[in-house]
């Protein structure tokens, strides 16, 4: 499979701060790729370097084989970027804005049919002639996605596309983005919503302090970092120390619930036996699947 995007030893320094510190990764054509990390991890800097908004200190980046610095014009034809901020041009209506954006990429009147199709697919037809100032936040967000699509780029990069969006619209946007991926577009998504990455992405990269801390398929990451958790409600109000037979098993406490991280399923019988021995009664019990959030927290050491 061809590489849609390739980052090679990319660094970006702002004075002493190493915002991106030697990242190498590639994204295949047709992938749905997630870029995760806490605030300041370097996700947006990486995306901005790909988009040409920020210049790398060293290293190289290519989009569909075109270097984003040396061959920026062809590289930008390959990219549709949805910025994080809700920005708009207050002088124009939605349709005008989309036509202008397509025009910058050399798309003439023949492209207007595609512009109208995007407007329809994003459920914006009723507002196509409305000035951008008058659109709601959710509509402006959809307009930004439409803008990224007007020149039919093979790669679509969405920087926090569902930030501040209500649940219903988030679901609609997910469906739309999935549809684009099914049509063959390579999708790169940065997000704070881990369930979003878990639900949508085939592969995930996790960043921390400008470095890549994990890069794998979402399924592998979940497998690698977690078996099931055992969640117990116990009679003991405070369990200061685990019985010695199970002390190698990690656990956390949330109110009256104790969550044990199971390395293997036989750990359950060990835990129950040890608690019985200490006469600690189990009031309630459930097993919980590990999610990407836990993997994320483990890898980034971030509680946010």
């Amino acid at each position: 499979m061809k590489k849609a995007i390739a980052f090679k030893s990319v660094k970006k320094n702002y004075g002493q701060l190493k915002a991106v510190n030697g990242i190498t990764l590639s994204i295949e054509e047709g992938e749905f790729f997630g870029l995760l990390g806490p605030n300041g991890a370097g996700k947006s800097t990486l995306i901005n370097m790909l988009a040409g908004l920020v210049r790398p200190t060293s290293g190289s980046i290519s989009a569909m084989g075109f270097d984003v610095v040396k061959d920026y014009q062809n590289a930008r034809h390959s990219l549709g970027i949805v910025p994080q901020e809700l920005v708009f041009d207050p002088f124009f209506n939605l349709r005008e804005m989309l036509r202008f954006q397509a025009g910058y990429f050399g798309k003439g009147k023949t492209n207007d049919i595609w512009v109208d199709e995007i407007i329809e697919r994003l459920d914006l037809s009723a507002k196509a002639s409305t000035n951008m100032r008058m659109l709601s936040g959710g509509m402006k967000r959809r307009a930004l996605i439409a803008q990224a699509l007007v020149h039919r780029p093979p790669i679509i990069v969405l920087d926090e596309p569902t930030a501040g969006v209500d649940v219903e619209l988030r679901q609609k946007l997910w469906d739309f983005i999935k549809e684009l991926n099914n049509e063959g577009h390579t999708i790169v998504l940065t997000t704070h919503y881990l369930e979003e990455a878990e639900a949508l992405c085939n592969r995930v990269a996790m960043l921390r302090a400008g470095r890549l801390v994990a890069l794998d398929t979402t399924t592998n990451l979940l497998k690698k970092f977690a078996a099931k958790n055992l969640k117990l409600r116990l009679s003991a109000k405070k369990l200061f120390k685990l019985p010695s037979s199970i002390k190698e098993i990690n656990f956390s406490v949330d109110n009256e619930f104790y969550t044990f991280e199971l390395k293997k399923i036989t750990d359950i019988s060990k835990i129950i036996a040890a608690l019985n021995k200490e006469s600690i009664e189990i009031l309630d019990m459930e097993t919980v699947d590990q999610d990407l959030e836990n993997v994320f927290l483990k890898l980034t050491g971030n509680k946010n």
Binding site: P83, V87, F92, Q101, Y104, G106, G108
Partner: protein, 258 residues
């Protein structure tokens, strides 16, 4: 991909958008400067028309008009590129341009031409209203045209520099209030520099606006304070230097790309 046709269409789209942008707010971008120009004309000509004759056989009101046209043309050419850029930067929508394959030359060209267009449009409006009051034939149309193009271009380029450099509206206003306005008011719009003391004449000759106004006026009357060819050379030289500086600024991504 990025064919010549695509590049032409891209530049044309940005130019069209910039033209439409000022046209959408024509009350502010066209009507307001035209009214200001006409007010200057009416007030100064009313007060001074019977008392002053700067050039022989040319009424003061007629003398005033080319200077006012050029002053408005220059100010509006500057305002067009500078306000478009600062608004886009403050609103954040500059990103829509920066994500496109448009090169720094294409950006420069589109902003420059739209600035010249707005300046000339405002100038033509003032001229059309002014000739209702006074007979004002154009003796050398080509001279008028060249000064309008290069003067507007010079100020359009300066506007791009100001728009890129400024981070806030007050910084941008400082360019207008402390650079453009004094230089244009002291450029001989309302007088001939021959009426000034020798020392002030020399100071005036350091002002590039003086050459733009004086040369433009020559196009109407065939009379000027200095040779129109000297003025045109200086204006073209300034235009080339500022354009080069602007292109380098855009190429470097200064204050636009991190």
């Amino acid at each position: 991909m990025n064919s010549l046709r695509n590049q032409f269409l891209g530049t044309w789209t940005l130019l069209k958008k910039e033209l439409l942008r000022f046209w959408r707010v024509a009350f502010q971008t066209v009507a307001a400067p035209v009214i200001t120009g006409i007010l200057y004309l009416l007030i100064f000509s009313h007060v001074l028309d019977s008392r002053l004759e700067v050039y022989e056989g040319v009424p003061y009101m007629a003398f005033l008009i080319p200077g006012l046209i050029m002053m408005s043309l220059l100010q509006n050419a500057f305002s067009n590129s500078s306000s478009s850029l600062i608004q886009s930067k403050v609103m954040g929508n500059i990103v829509f341009l920066l994500l496109t394959p448009l090169s720094y030359i294409q950006l420069f060209f589109a902003f420059l031409v739209s600035s010249i267009a707005r300046g000339i449009f405002v100038g033509i409006c003032i001229y059309l209203i002014a000739i209702l009051y006074v007979d004002l034939p154009i003796e050398h149309p080509w001279i008028v045209f060249l000064f309008a193009i290069f003067g507007g271009g010079l100020m359009g380029a300066f506007g791009i520099i100001a728009g890129v450099w400024s981070d806030r509206f007050d910084q941008m206003a400082a360019f207008g209030n402390f650079v453009i306005m004094p230089l244009s008011m002291l450029s001989g719009v309302f007088y001939s520099i021959h009426s000034l003391p020798a020392s002030w004449q020399k100071v005036s000759q350091l002002n590039p606006f003086f050459y733009m106004i004086d040369g433009f006026r020559y196009g109407f009357f065939g009379q000027s304070d200095v040779s129109p060819y000297l003025s045109l050379s200086i204006v073209i030289l300034f235009f080339i230097v500022l354009s080069y500086f602007t292109i380098q600024m855009l190429k470097s991504g200064y204050k636009l790309r991190g």
